[in-house]
């Protein structure tokens, strides 16, 4: 199959220009939906930063002093196992907690930590999260335990809000993504309809389906890419606008934004996902639209 690149690019460009209004409509719809997808991903990322300790149903954490001897550790483990409110517990080593602290704490605070002084921890889920205080009371006085912590009301509220927001955003994004796909499909279909004589002559003289299909797919690729490029701008706007690029310090670490702060590579990954989804929607949508016209 010899399909020259100049042919594909030339045809796609002239089609885009001929149907520029529909192209703009498709690009904008794709942009809005992809921006929502990107924002959802970004907020989700931030929320997981803020609540990383409390994921997977962890309701209470018993911090074991680094100085605790094996017998004391076992004793704590057994006591937790016998507690009627505890469903299950996971043991995290000092190394794990050290790494987690690096992610969670402000840089200047983390400086003062070292692996040897880190506690290990039991992270337990309860059959009734409200009973976390019972566990606190039971273990707070244990000489081998440095601290018992449970999520504060602030985090619980934030988790709830973010969860609802995530679903709303996700639902919106899916609906808009669908409409963007349909619009791209429709744009391509109009482009083919405008050129149905040409397509029928192509088929008559023996052009392969790929030869006819490729320019339209290139067109969808451009639309999807332009849409995702606009969406990337929006995602970056959200990132910098909210100040999610702040460096966590001792001074600001209690603010929600600082809790959700994330590094540049995470934003880059989000943008990459947006571009990939946009291009895929454009290419696949066009291929589907053309195939209906190519049926012999």
């Amino acid at each position: 199959m010899a399909v020259s690149a100049t042919y594909v690019v030339g045809e796609a460009a002239s089609n885009l220009w001929r149907n520029r209004l529909m192209t703009i409509a498709a690009v904008l719809t794709a942009a809005v939906s992809l921006a929502l997808v990107g924002s959802t991903l970004l907020l989700k990322q931030g929320a997981s930063h803020a609540t990383v300790r409390w994921q997977q149903g962890v309701n209470v954490i018993v911090w074991v002093k680094p100085s605790a001897n094996p017998a004391q550790t076992t004793e704590i483990k057994q006591a937790l196992a016998q507690n009627p409110y505890v469903v299950s517990c996971a043991y995290k080593t000092q190394a794990y907690d050290y790494n987690e602290a690096r992610d969670l704490l402000a840089a200047d605070e983390f400086q003062s930590l070292d692996l040897q002084s880190m506690p290990s921890s039991y992270r337990c889920s309860l059959n009734d999260p409200l009973q976390a205080t019972e566990i606190t009371d039971q273990f707070q006085t244990n000489p081998a335990v440095s601290l018992v912590s449970s999520p504060t009301q602030q985090i619980r509220t934030m988790e709830g809000v973010i969860r609802v927001l995530q679903w709303v955003f996700l639902a919106l994004a899916v609906v808009l993504l669908l409409s963007a796909t349909v619009l791209i499909l429709n744009t391509i279909r109009m482009a083919i309809y405008a050129r149905r004589r040409e397509v029928s002559v192509m088929k008559l003289v023996g052009a392969t389906n790929w030869f006819i299909r490729l320019p339209f797919m290139a067109e969808g690729l451009v639309q999807g890419f332009l849409g995702s490029a606009v969406a990337v701008v929006a995602v970056l706007g959200l990132y910098f606008g909210l100040g999610l690029n702040v460096v966590k310090t001792a001074a600001n670490q209690n603010s929600l934004i600082a809790q959700m702060a994330m590094g540049g590579w995470e934003v880059a990954m989000t943008c990459l996902v947006v571009v990939v989804v946009g291009v895929a929607v454009g290419v696949v949508g066009s291929a589907v639209a053309v195939s209906r016209f190519l049926d012999v």
Partner: protein, 264 residues
Amino acid sequence: MITFQNVTKTYKGSTVALRDCSVEIDKGEFVFLVGPSGSGKTTFIRLLLREERPDAGRIWEAGKEIGNLSKWRIPYLRRNIGCVFQDFRLLPNKSVFENVAFALEVIGRPKHVIQSQVPQVLDLVGLSKKRDNLPGELSGGEQQRVAVARAFVNRPLILLADEPTGNLDPTTSLGIMRLLDRINRTGTTVVIATHDAGMVDQMRRRVIELDRGSLVRDQARGVYGIDSSVAAAGAGSPTGQGVEVDGPSERLDDQAPDPTVAEV
């Protein structure tokens, strides 16, 4: 070159387009496919282009059975078949040269082949001087010549024509027929579906007649609408005013106009 073996084609709504049709056309033949509207001529052509598949029976074309041809092979089958239609099907925004060149471009022929073959075939159809005109600037006959040039530029084994003179006046039609005849003499098999009685009668070539999907007549050196016993007496043309037809066909002077061709 073309073989139909008990071919039946039924469209939705149980219209029988072709019924148990068997026919054989050899390489280099020139065949008229005649019959009233709805007799199955166009279905015959569409089956050969593999735009339709037979419901029953088998079709061979250029040595290959095409009934069960897989979809991706269809374009390669069509590269061996040229086709001309009543409505020309030219691209209005492309010049004569570009229209003909388009047929080579879309099958990936290199530029130098296009540059040498297109002028050749435009010369054959007598349109060298109009190569840069748009189809809208040409007469109907000239447009059909462009269509013939496009169908023939790839030197197909078979040339199909579905009512090629349906939109043209008799004199112009004769020019197109002469052109098809010339192409036939290069060895290309030519099949023309038509109800232009005058043309058929003048050319005196093989005639295959269809009626409501059934093959009712297959006659060498036939005329349009006369049964074989009368045909032996010959027939003239009600329309072609004694214009010379070159080629091996013979012309008879007897006038035997057929009342059934009045619809033309």
